[in-house]
């Protein structure tokens, strides 16, 4: 490219000289040098300063040789002609310089315009992007079309799993460089030359502020020249893309947060209104029925008393169903966060038995609690609820008059409460299924219940850091259900000394 303009400049000057010689033959021209400004300016505008200077020297020589007396000689008789040539040289150099500058400015303007148009295209495309994958495709296309560079995205594992696979083969060195950027958590761009192809690769984080949006590798092509310029042009492209990624990310986070809040509010509203709307009429029914139960007229008549008992028992059952419904909703929403406190296990077991005494219907509870059980750190209500379900279940599936043994033992790690009945037992499959939601033993279709009890029990125990287990020697051999709770060491030590006052 650089070699051609100089012969061209010389050719132009020669052509101008030829034209001038012909014109001069017909009509003598005084200021031939003025005409020579035309090729000089043309060279300056078209090819730059060096061809223009070449043209100037050639023009001076030609003017001297062909037009200034003595003609066909490089000597000059008239000193005015010397001044003329010197003036020409000065004017030619100055105007060439100006023309070159103008040309550069025009070139820069048009290049910038092109870049801005490209960037504008990119932002328009980015604005329509709805996923990171779209954005990476847009970056790749943009770099390919506007820079002639190939780009590939090296996403952080997991973070951008939906980034599309790139067909571009990444040299091993570039991949290693990208991994190093992740490993060092560095935002510094790196230039890596692939030894096989000789291509230079720019490897940098997509966002200039964080590695969150992954790392991009751009193939800058062979040869080191122009690398700086390309690097500078890549910057705004990536800045734009990072801003779009951030916008998408923020939008996603806001969206998630809103959804969470809505679900939460809905759940609370539901729990609150179910609790209030169903319990309030129930409270009136239970309260009113207890007043009737104390009335002498009803107490005297066993038939009326029996009717009232039906009312009370069914109201009690309805209340339990409402509680189970609320508990199930709470568990399904993974919202069981126990307010743990130090508690006496015996208190919890007693409360669980007492609250269900009416439903034990003649089954005897044998309580065997070791006196030196450690304190447990749990939310007492949840464990009481869980044990209640286990005890109720034992009563439901064992014959009236049989006994249910509630036993608690402890070792260094855990306290285990076991509820042993003499009931129908469990088959091998049932043993695995009893903890599932809505499981009902198919061998006994006429036992009432929702199948929620043991499922709730397990969820509450697990939420408090415990485990549950069902053991049975087989059908009709009884069942033992154990609830194990962790022993937290510092309770005993701390309290042992503090009470010796």
């Amino acid at each position: 490219m650089k070699l051609y303009p100089i012969p061209a400049a010389l050719g132009l000057v020669a052509a101008t000289t030829g034209v001038l010689i012909i014109l001069h033959g017909m009509l003598p021209i005084d200021h031939v040098t003025l005409v020579f400004l035309v090729p000089v300016m043309f060279c300056a505008a078209q090819w730059g300063l060096l061809p223009a200077l070449t043209a100037t020297v050639a023009a001076v020589a030609a003017a001297d040789f062909f037009f200034y007396p003595p003609i066909y000689s490089f000597s000059i008789d008239d000193p005015r002609n010397i001044i003329d040539l010197m003036l020409f040289s000065c004017v030619a150099v100055v105007t060439s310089e100006l023309a070159v500058r103008l040309r550069r400015a025009a070139e820069a303007a048009s290049r910038r315009e092109g870049e801005i148009r490209d960037l504008y295209e990119l932002s328009r495309r980015l604005a329509a992007c709805t996923s990171p994958a779209d954005i990476y495709a847009a970056i790749r296309d943009h770099l390919a079309s506007s820079l002639g560079s190939r780009a590939t995205l090296i996403a952080d594992a997991g973070k951008l799993a939906d980034a599309p696979d790139d067909p571009l083969k990444l040299p091993a060195e570039v991949g290693a460089g990208a991994r190093e950027i992740f490993a060092r958590n560095s935002l510094e761009p790196r230039l890596i030359v692939d030894p096989r192809s000789g291509h230079a690769w720019l490897v940098r984080s997509v966002s200039a502020e964080a590695l969150d949006f992954g790392v991009i590798a751009v193939d800058l092509g062979a040869g080191a020249d122009g690398v700086e310029a390309i690097k500078q042009r890549i910057d705004p492209v990536l800045a734009e893309a990072a801003a779009t990624l951030a916008r998408l990310d923020v939008a996603r986070l806001i969206d998630e947060a809103r959804q969470r809040t809505e679900t939460d509010l809905l759940r609370k509203a539901l729990l609150g209104s179910v609790s209030h709307e169903l319990r309030t009429p129930l409270a009136s029914i239970v309260g009113a029925s207890t007043i009737l139960a104390d009335a002498p007229e009803i107490r005297r008549d066993p038939r009326l008393h029996a009717v009232l008992q039906v009312l009370q028992e069914e109201a009690e059952r309805l209340n339990d169903d409402i509680q189970n419904l609320l508990d199930a909703t709470r568990i399904t929403n993974e919202n069981v966060q126990p307010h743990a406190e130090w508690a006496e296990l015996a208190d919890i077991v007693n409360a669980a038995i007492e609250r269900r005494r009416a439903r034990l219907a003649g089954r005897r509870i044998d309580l065997d609690l070791r006196a030196d059980l450690p304190l447990v750190k749990v939310e007492p209500r949840l464990i009481e609820q869980a044990l209640g379900h286990v005890i109720e279940n034992a009563a439901k599936y064992s014959p009236p008059g049989s006994s249910i043994v509630v036993r608690a033992v402890a070792d260094a790690q855990r306290v285990v409460v076991s509820v042993q009945d003499q009931g129908i037992g469990l088959t091998a499959e049932e043993k695995d299924q009893v903890w599932e939601r809505s499981f009902r033993g198919s061998r006994h279709p006429n036992v009432a219940g929702s199948g929620l009890g043991l499922w709730i029990a397990r969820a509450f125990v697990v939420a408090n850091g415990g485990t549950v287990e069902a053991v049975s020697a087989g059908p009709r051999c009884g069942t033992t259900i154990s609830v194990a709770l962790p022993v937290v060491a510092d309770a005993v030590e701390q309290s042992g000394e503090s009470c010796n006052a």
């Binding site: 729990l271 609790s275 209030h276 319990r279 309030t280 009429p281 129930l282 409270a283 009136s284 029914i285 239970v286 309260g287 009113a288 207890t290 007043i291 139960a293 104390d294 009335a295 107490r299 009370q312 109201a315 209340n319 509680q323 609320l326 307010h339 406190e341 130090w342 508690a343 006496e344 015996a346 208190d347 919890i348 007693n350 409360a351 007492e354 609250r355 005494r357 009416a358 309580l367 609690l369 006196a371 304190l375 939310e379 007492p380 209500r381 009481e384 309770a491 701390q494 309290s495 042992g496 503090s498 009470c499 010796n500 006052a501």
Partner: protein, 248 residues
């Protein structure tokens, strides 16, 4: 020489609940006043000075805690809170704000009457200065600081006595863990529930027939303890007094 009937003010926004409470309390010899919201309730409490207030926590116009706070600013009338089972924390809060006790909806009338009588007795005891509190076989003399079981004096540590004393002052009504910890160990120890658990365990071994099935110092799960006050009358067939029934 009939005693004047005690007056109870029912503050609850549910008319059906007020209706059965009116019936239940009138049958028990109370005069019943009703209020459907907190504003009316506070007004009635000021103008009619009832002997007992039943306060629902779910009032439409004011938080139950605030009603209690306004009430306690000028009156120490016994207050029983009616709550639903889901708000354990709220229950503890109102008890600490000065409520005497609570019942959980749905509740039996006998249970509510027992709590109410206990709260009113405490009120009377404070003004009359009745020295001995009884709970089954246990008698606590708050003046001489003697505690006896079936008439035999038993020896207690200072903290064990303090525990019985506080529970005895509120006999029949619940006392929260925090209140007990503050009274026995001081304000800096209100979160050391395990101290209280161990102290109660030791006390139960001294006073309960079967420490594993306590009948004197009974537990309110997640809330506190109460000194049981078995009703002398024969209504124990009613629901809501399972603990006392099991101990009889």
């Amino acid at each position: 020489m009939p005693k004047p009937s005690p007056t109870v003010l029912v503050i609850d926004d549910e008319p059906q609940i007020r209706r059965f409470l009116r019936a239940g309390f009138e049958l028990d010899g109370f005069l019943v006043l009703e209020a459907g919201n907190a504003g009316e309730g506070l007004k009635a409490a000021t103008l009619r000075s009832p002997d007992l207030i039943l306060l629902d926590l779910g009032l439409p116009d004011m938080d139950g805690g605030e009603v209690l706070e306004r009430l306690r600013a000028w009156s120490d009338v016994p207050v029983i809170v009616l709550s639903v089972r889901t708000d354990e924390d709220q229950k503890v809060r109102v008890l600490e704000n000065g409520a005497d006790d609570y019942v959980v909806k749905p509740f039996g009338m006998a249970e509510l009457l027992a709590r109410a009588r206990a709260a009113m007795r405490r009120h009377v005891r404070r003004s009359v200065g009745e020295p001995v509190v009884r709970s089954g076989p246990l008698a606590i003399d708050l003046v001489t600081r003697h505690v006896s079981l079936n008439g035999n004096r038993i020896s207690l540590t200072r903290k064990e006595y303090r525990l019985l004393q506080v529970l005895g002052q509120h006999a029949g009504n619940v006392v929260t863990h925090q209140q007990l910890l503050k009274e026995i160990w001081g304000a800096g120890h209100v979160h050391f529930t395990q101290y209280l658990r161990i102290l109660v365990r030791k006390l139960r071994h001294k006073i309960e027939a079967d420490p594993a099935k306590p009948c004197i110092v009974v537990t309110e799960l997640g809330v506190g303890y109460r000194l049981a006050q078995p009703e002398p009358a024969a209504e124990s067939a009613s629901a809501g007094r399972a603990v006392e029934a099991a101990c009889a």
